[in-house]
């Protein structure tokens, strides 16, 4: 009844985009209310679709509802367009549209003094939401790719929203235009990989439909090496989109955009598309343990490095940006570890191992949903602070707790959640992620790598708690800075109400794991086919036992508490000067961190040395070889024409001479021919 109208989910925000784009100037708040309506409508219909889907017979078998029409045909090859609803798509639709609704409401307050530019803003965020929702319900890779690219475009437009020098940015993000360009180009690098992956799939499967590609028999019949190549190329696209190592540098620079856009990119859309794609392609990736190992290693490394970079950053938004990278790394670690176990289980036919792998899938998806809420909360909270103080530098904040109680408390909840403080959302998912990573370490020849990643992940958990509370204490406690004196109190209601709603979810959403989340969002093999959903979860007591009877849980919690304590004495009580540990910012490590491990410089070097070299080569070929050929040809023609024109003397006797000589020569030749060839 509602599932048939799934196409409305991306279509309504799309219509909002068109309407706001054309008529936004005449609308109140630059068309903001319409954008909110679009997002809210998308959320409501997603909720109805999800409810109907989960109660329908299709949920238990085959586990999805799909419908397609032919988009275009090339010979006998059909490209379809349609929707594909399963548990994962429902999850994505629900949280993306819900969070976007709140972010759009918040934007009304946050962008109120942008004037006519608000039309552009609300049109673009609507298109952004279209991209995410369309991606979630797409029924084949090409359709997915279209929405994927739409998001890439919107991120470019929105990051560059303030396309002039932004007063609050630091070094590389000073210029929003160049940050937008960087985001666009770096993600494009991944998109090229994704496109290559689609070519491989199309070549091997003869179709890009999810139903055709994820068919167990089809996957078993194609060349495993090509399957691996396709999987890795698709993951290359994910690396670009979700800003994983080594393409992680665009996301911190993307902070040059408005804070609401950062919230949208980090929580509801864009970077989550990468996680979604890995979860969507899980059956494909799980055909090779090596691919999943790669996913896990990339995730683990990103989680660790991004967390280190957040440790000493002074920009409130950048700290959050690095924490996003780090949390995304956790998601990929969970998916990779789970997929690794599942791949091994599929090879050996061990159903227990497959079930253990499914936990990784659940953990990754749960962390994605949790992260969406607490990161949206944190970004909107930081937006509220920036709105009030007019600065992004945490050194100029401080002592804001008394002035902005709601923002302060909601951000505290968000920080507790992301840090993994017991019983907050982040705690549940992070514990399961860590457990899966550790568990994967027991299997296979390369399993020990997951043990290394697990240790890195635990250190990351410590660092996460530290930098999040460093941020919170520096912003809301301690001595007030310049910016804090400017602060004129709490933000307007349109900004605080979304914060309050989000904080409720950020605090409590993780508990859904106890109430059967893993029944719905999991992956298993039913009747020989991969199926998302219809699992048998651990249940309420099962998870409680899993988490609270494990000694490692207490280890992590202890580390988190210690980290919070350290942050407290350093930045709130100020009894320890953090400068002692880094020679007041002169130690090599400190410089490495504030230079982001020299990643931007590495990019620049690669860009300069390689790009410039290639450009030089191309220029040589262009000006010397191609232009040279053309010029030589033309000058040869012109020169010979020039010299030949001298024959035209205009003197009639010369012409006559030429005629006579010609006739004589002709006769001579003919005579010779007759003589030698014995003609008549």
């Amino acid at each position: 009844m509602f599932v048939e109208y799934t196409w409305l989910v991306p279509l309504v925000p799309m219509l909002c985009f068109v309407i706001i784009g054309f008529f936004g100037k005449k609308m109140p708040h630059g068309g903001g209310p319409l954008a909110i309506f679009g997002a809210m409508f998308a959320f409501l219909i997603s909720a109805l679709i999800s409810y109907e889907f989960f109660t329908s017979a299709a949920y238990s078998s085959p586990g999805y509802v799909t419908e397609q029409i032919t988009w275009f045909s090339i010979g006998s090859f059909d490209i379809n367009i349609g929707y594909y609803v399963d548990s994962l798509a429902c999850l994505m639709m629900l949280f993306a549209s819900f969070i976007s609704t709140l972010i759009f409401i918040y934007s009304i307050g946050y962008m109120h003094n942008e004037g006519v530019k608000r039309r552009r803003y609300f049109a673009e965020v609507s298109l952004f939401l279209t991209g995410m929702l369309g991606l979630a319900v797409s029924s084949n890779f090409l359709e997915m790719f279209v929405f994927w690219e739409a998001m890439g475009l919107c991120s470019y437009l929105l990051i560059g929203f303030w396309s002039f020098t932004h007063p609050n940015g630091d070094d590389a993000s000073d210029n929003a235009a160049s940050a937008a360009k960087k985001a666009f180009l770096v993600t494009r690098l991944g998109d090229v990989c994704l496109m290559g992956g689609m070519f491989v799939l199309m070549y091997e499967f003869g179709s890009l439909d999810y139903t055709a590609v994820f068919d167990t028999a089809a996957m078993a019949s194609v060349d495993p090496n090509m399957l691996m190549l396709g999987s890795l190329l698709i993951f290359g696209g994910v690396i670009g989109k979700s800003a994983q190592f080594p393409l992680l540098d665009w996301l911190p620079d993307a902070m040059a955009g408005p804070t609401t856009v950062s919230a949208l990119i980090h929580a509801a859309t864009m970077v989550k598309a990468g996680v979604y794609l890995v979860a969507r392609c899980f059956p494909l990736f799980a055909q090779n343990p090596e691919v999943m190992l790669f996913v896990g290693v990339i995730g683990g490394i990103t989680a660790f490095f991004a967390a280190t970079m957040a440790l000493n950053n002074m920009n409130i938004k950048k700290v959050l940006a690095y924490s996003t990278l780090s949390q995304l790394g956790y998601m990929f670690l969970a998916l990779g570890a789970g997929g690794y176990m599942m791949a091994l289980g599929l090879q050996s036919g061990d159903s227990a191992l497959i079930a253990a792998g499914a936990v990784g899938y659940t953990a990754g998806c749960l962390h994605m949903a949790n992260h969406a809420f607490f990161k949206a909360l944190l970004f909107l909270g930081s937006g509220s602070v920036i709105h009030a103080t007019g600065t992004e530098d945490m050194r100029e904040m401080g002592g804001l707790h008394s002035k902005m109680k709601i923002t302060s408390i909601t951000m505290l909840i968000g920080s507790l959640s992301i840090a993994g403080f017991p019983l907050f959302s982040g705690f549940w998912s992070k514990e399961i992620v860590l457990e899966v990573a550790m568990h994967a370490g027991d299997y296979g020849a390369e399993g020990y790598l997951f043990l290394v990643l697990w240790i890195l992940a635990i250190i990351t958990a410590f660092m996460t708690a530290f930098y999040m509370f460093r941020m919170w204490f520096m912003t809301f406690k301690g001595k007030p800075g310049h910016g804090a004196e400017h602060c004129h109190g709490e933000s307007p209601k349109s900004m605080t109400i979304p914060l309050i709603i989000l904080s409720v979810f950020a605090a409590a959403l993780g508990c859904i794991i106890l109430f059967g989340f893993d029944d719905y969002v999991t992956i298993g093999i039913h009747a020989g086919q991969f199926q998302v959903g219809s699992g048998h979860g651990h249940g309420f007591m099962g998870w409680l036992e899993d988490i609270f009877l494990s000694a490692y849980t207490y280890l992590t919690v202890a580390l988190v508490l210690i980290a919070i304590g350290v942050a407290y004495v350093m930045y709130s009580k100020m009894s320890i000067n953090p400068g002692k540990f880094n020679k007041d910012g002169n130690s090599l490590l400190y410089k490495a961190l504030s230079n982001r491990w020299w990643f931007p410089r590495l990019y620049d070097q690669i860009g300069w040395k390689m790009g410039y070299g290639v450009a030089k080569g191309v220029e040589f070929v262009d000006t010397q070889v191609i232009d040279g050929t053309v010029n030589a040809l033309s000058s040869a023609v012109a020169g010979s024409g020039d010299s030949m024109s001298k024959v035209q003397t205009g003197n009639v006797r010369d012409y006559a001479s030429v005629v006579v000589i010609g006739i004589v020569v002709l006769f001579a030749v003919m005579l010779l021919l007759f003589y030698f060839m014995g003609g008549a």
Binding site: Q648, G650, R653, A656
Partner: protein
């Protein structure tokens, strides 16, 4: 009877003189006259072959050639008259404006 070679050599010499005149003389009237010489050399060939093969077709051709030559001379003289009006000379070396 005079052998045919004599006639043919005579015609060839006549043609050569005509061709030489066309190439060398700068007076265009002389050039026209040389063209007539060449035409008549060809006419002699026609006549000779006609007489030696007892075929009248060659003589018919000669009548035709003479009439065409008359027309050609008329056109040629007319061009020269106009050229003279324009340039006040009929020297071939001065009539060289049709060039690059």
């Amino acid at each position: 009877m005079i052998p045919i070679e004599v006639y043919l050599v005579f015609a060839a010499v006549l043609f050569a003189i005509g061709a030489y005149g066309v190439m060398v003389k700068s007076n265009t009237i002389v050039v026209l006259m040389c063209i007539e010489l060449m035409l008549n050399a060809a006419n002699i060939n026609f006549i000779v072959f006609s007489a030696f093969t007892t075929d009248v077709l060659g003589q018919v051709f000669v009548i035709m050639t003479i009439s065409v030559a008359a027309a050609e001379v008329a056109v040629g003289i007319a061009i020269l008259l106009n050229a003279y009006k324009l340039k006040n000379t009929t020297e071939a070396d001065s009539l060289t404006s049709m060039r690059w």
